[in-house]
């Protein structure tokens, strides 16, 4: 390279030499080691999260066309990841929240009042209390855009609010015990787990459906991509109902008794159930038995939560422990101790863990991968009212708490994702946009057969059924042969010495003892006595009849 440059310089073409140098440099080094500066190297680190999957090595491939195509594709993947990182760096409109204490202040000492005093007016309005003491502890749910809030009191009080504008959309009293409430694909429909059945209501409070096949439901969950409403009941039966077509997809008997803890893993749409024997089981509609079963606690589970990326799972049990597990590797990471039993556990979009026990809530930051000594924030409810249900509001730094005395919302700086994607969830949706989004969601609706533990396996090549069958046959044949040889191992030959011991006869006997597979199988059958037609000898028959009747026996 240096000699070429000298030649070019000699020819007086310095510009050309520089260009050649740059060209060579770009060719020789990988993008990661190229002429990026420090700022851009940060962008490269961010770009890593946009690369899905491992790089395919092209070294072993003989086919030149395929090799070229794969190389181009890999280059495009890297480029698109870098572009996405640049978009993240420069084009996102909002910034996340944070809480930085001054001096000797600690974050867990800070109260909600002090935080509300410091933030702007519109944010301070987001922290409020709804006093609803009469109608029981409240179960809550937010829509996926975070705009609408659904309250369900134990004594049958159901209400939808546009909580940012403090506007009540609808309020009904169903006069029955309501254990759980859930929004369906948007704010137009919600489901309530009432005393006997599951009911689906409209935005105006009109009862649309009564799902009579879901008996005594305890918990509800909704899978938005599959349009599946999942319920778990007192008998421990898990039911999947398709809310777009209306048919029941499947019912699974868990056979592990009453189960009151259910959560969906948002990464792969697998249902996690927490049982009273301390196990967490994972279910999909395709299998009758759990996909996975993990023993987590010494005693019944009280709460369960998954993080948004499907990496970690947090469980809480009556043994007072809050444990963090790695879901992919199925390993426990660490455990925290809570003096009172944790009633509810929740993980925010940004990975903040909220643990509600009794009338207090603790929020832990970066507590999933590493063990934190102290929580990030603490909050205690007024009048010691017991927490029933907590839920983070998506795309806002707000945690909603449903408790005995009503509903409260607190500010948790840094918990929400600041930048939303219009095509995923839009807090400022107009009616037209909502309709279009519904249609697009229905067009892209996934089938329940696609729910698998590893969603990356969709689209991969499976070895053909014929190949598998052939392999199984070969393995079975070998096993049979081995078994046959083992069972037909020759008895040590006796050396007969009464003159009938010709060596050729001995050799022939030895050969006969190398029993074929078929003979071994038949021998086995004979020994077991199954499927074998017994040959009745005429003599045996004759002996059965008395001698006087011997003339009547058939020959």
């Amino acid at each position: 390279m240096a000699i070429d440059l000298q030649k070019q310089k000699a020819a007086g073409n310095e510009k050309g030499a520089q260009q050649q140098l740059l060209h060579r440099k770009r060719k020789a080094t990988e993008i990661e080691q190229s002429e990026y500066g420090k700022d851009e190297s940060q962008g490269l680190i961010q770009a890593k999260k946009y690369i899905r999957g491992d790089k395919v090595s092209v070294k072993g491939i003989v086919d030149k066309k395929l090799k070229g195509q794969l190389r181009t594709k890999e280059r495009l993947f890297v480029e698109s990841a870098l572009n996405a990182a640049k978009v993240e760096q420069w084009l996102l409109p909002s910034e996340g929240g944070y809480l930085e204490p001054d001096g000797i202040e600690k974050t867990w000492n800070l109260t909600q009042e002090s935080i509300v005093r410091e933030v702007d007016i519109s944010s301070s309005k987001k922290s409020f209390d709804l006093k609803l003491p009469d109608l029981g502890p409240y179960a809550i749910d937010f829509t996926s855009s975070g705009r609408f809030l659904l309250l369900g009191g134990r004594k049958g009080h159901l209400a939808i609010l546009d909580w940012k504008e403090a506007r009540l959309l609808t309020e009904i009293q169903v006069r029955e015990t309501t254990r759980d409430v859930k929004f369906l694909h948007n704010e137009l429909f919600f489901a309530a787990a009432q005393k006997k059945y599951v009911y689906i209501y409209d935005k105006k409070g009109v009862e649309i459906h009564c799902l009579k096949s879901h008996l005594c439901p305890l918990k509800l969950e909704y899978l938005p991509h599959h349009f599946l409403l999942t319920t778990i009941d007192k008998a421990g039966i898990l039911r999947y109902q398709d809310t777009s077509t209306g048919h029941m997809v499947v019912q699974h008997r868990t056979r592990l008794g009453r189960c009151g803890v259910m959560r969906v893993n948002p990464y792969n749409a697998v249902m996690g159930l927490g049982h009273s024997n301390g196990t967490v089981t994972m279910w999909s509609p395709n299998m009758d038995t759990p996909l996975m079963s993990l023993l987590c606690h010494r005693g019944p589970l009280t709460a369960l939560a998954f993080d948004a990326g499907g990496q970690q799972m947090v469980t809480a049990g009556t043994d007072g422990k809050v444990k963090v597990f790695d879901v992919r590797k199925l390993q426990p990471l660490h455990s925290y101790f809570s003096p009172t039993v944790a009633r509810s556990v929740e993980i925010s979009q940004k990975g903040l863990l909220a643990v509600a026990s009794g009338s207090g809530i603790e929020i832990w930051k970066d507590a999933l991968v590493t063990k934190q000594p102290k929580p990030y924030m603490k909050h205690r409810l007024l009048q010691g009212s017991q927490v029933q249900d907590i839920c983070y509001c998506p795309y806002e730094d707000v945690l909603g708490i449903g408790h005995e005395q009503g509903f409260s919302s607190i500010l948790v700086p840094g918990s929400g994702e600041p930048n939303y994607d219009t095509f995923v969830a839009n807090p400022y949706e107009t009616r037209k946009q909502r309709r279009e989004a519904e249609v697009h969601a229905l067009l892209n609706k996934l089938q329940p057969e696609m729910i698998v533990l590893d969603p990356d396996r969709i689209g991969t090549i499976q070895r053909s059924a014929i190949e598998n069958k052939r392999e199984k046959q070969i393995v079975a044949k070998e096993a049979n042969l081995a078994g046959a040889i083992a069972s037909g191992k020759p008895v040590p030959l006796k050396k007969k010495t009464k003159g009938r011991n010709k060596s050729s006869k001995r050799h022939k006997k030895k050969q006969d003892n190398i029993i074929s597979e078929r003979r071994a199988v038949i021998k086995q059958q004979v020994n077991s006595g199954a499927n074998f037609v017994e040959l009745k000898t005429p003599k045996a028959q004759e002996e059965a009849l008395p001698r006087a009747l011997a003339r009547f026996s058939s020959k």
């Binding site: 978009v87 991509h225 795309y395 969603p455």
Partner: protein
Amino acid sequence: MKVKVISRSEDDFTRERRQDLQKVFRNLDPSLHPQEKAHEYVRALNAVKLEKVFAKPFLGALSGHTDSVSSMAKSPRRLNCIISGSMDGEIRLWDIAYRRTICHYSGHKGPVRGVAVSSGGDRLVSCGDDCTVRLWHIPTSTGGEPSSVGNDVAEPVATYQGKNAFRGVDHRWSSNIFATVGAQVDIWDHNRSEPISSFSWGTDTVISVRFNPAEPDVLATTASDRSICLYDLRMSTPLRKVVMQTRTNSVAWNPREALNFTAANEDCNCYSYDMRKLGFATCIHKDHVSAVMDIDYSPTGREFVTGSYDRTVRIFTYNGGHSREVYHAKRMQRVFCVKFSGDATYVLSGSDDTNIRLWKAQAAEQLGVLLPREKKKHAYLKAVKERFKHLPEIKRIDRHRHLPKPIYKADKLRQTLIEAERKKEHRKRAHSAPGSVPLIPARRKRIVTELE
């Protein structure tokens, strides 16, 4: 303490006036888009199904000839016209958009065997069984209006008499030279009444001729002695010849790859060759069930269309062993000539039932001006289909084509015959002395010999 909470002002995230577009914000973080692969799979499946719903390739027919269409020519300067010659001696200039004849050229006393347009787009050359070569004038297009409806009957500019019947004609891509074939290969100039030079190799009839668009001096001819012969105008003798087991009906040069051509053969296959290495075919394109009559490349050089004696028109990719698309119609009989339009959007087929049919090259394509959003969506769906096309559900829908029963049955029969032959040869090889039955690759099998 320093505290900040997410606070969005509604003004920044909603539109100001009703006539503005709605604001769209994207966040490409993968954690906000779970199960993307599954969604893409569902989109691919829906796209492939919709493609079948929208696959309406037949656009119309140009009818007017009174005998079967024997040859077609497209002008290198105009996209909206096609010239066809039929077996009753009539040549017509068509306006494709209005499906009308602009001009009749009558004069030939027997079947017209070949038509070609000069590189300037103003002269038409035709040859026929009446041993004449005629030159005609093509009227220039008049802006955006439809050309005046043809009751014009034009007179030939020139008529040149030859000794034997002519079987085909093709025009050189840069100058006023054209070649006719029949008893031998003749090279003519527009202004000379005698051929300026002649080539011949062997005594058999030469059936078709094609000039190479990228190498203007090279031409390929096919003869009834089952050979394909290559000539160069700059040399006085033919270049080389490859003899196959069956006759080649037509040849087409790849406009993107100067030295590659594809031959449409009588044994239902098309063979792609590299001009420099005629010892083996670079690709064999199989799918027809009867003799392939004509072949033409798309101007992109990535596809070609073939018309066959089995009443179908097939579109192949340039390096694909099987066809991408098959077109048939109940009333379309033996297809004798096919042409790919100059903008690679349409395919024209001239057949035995005196009609020229106009088809779309991409059966499900939306024609006309597309909005940028539509274009993006089409590009996305194409990419997503490409990503998942190997999976069984999608492959089954994508591959599915309706074939008329006789062709379906004929194809099945052909497959059994080929399979039987293959098995027989395999067993022969297995039970003979190793090396006594040589393994000849399919690319070489059909070639008898290569001659210089």
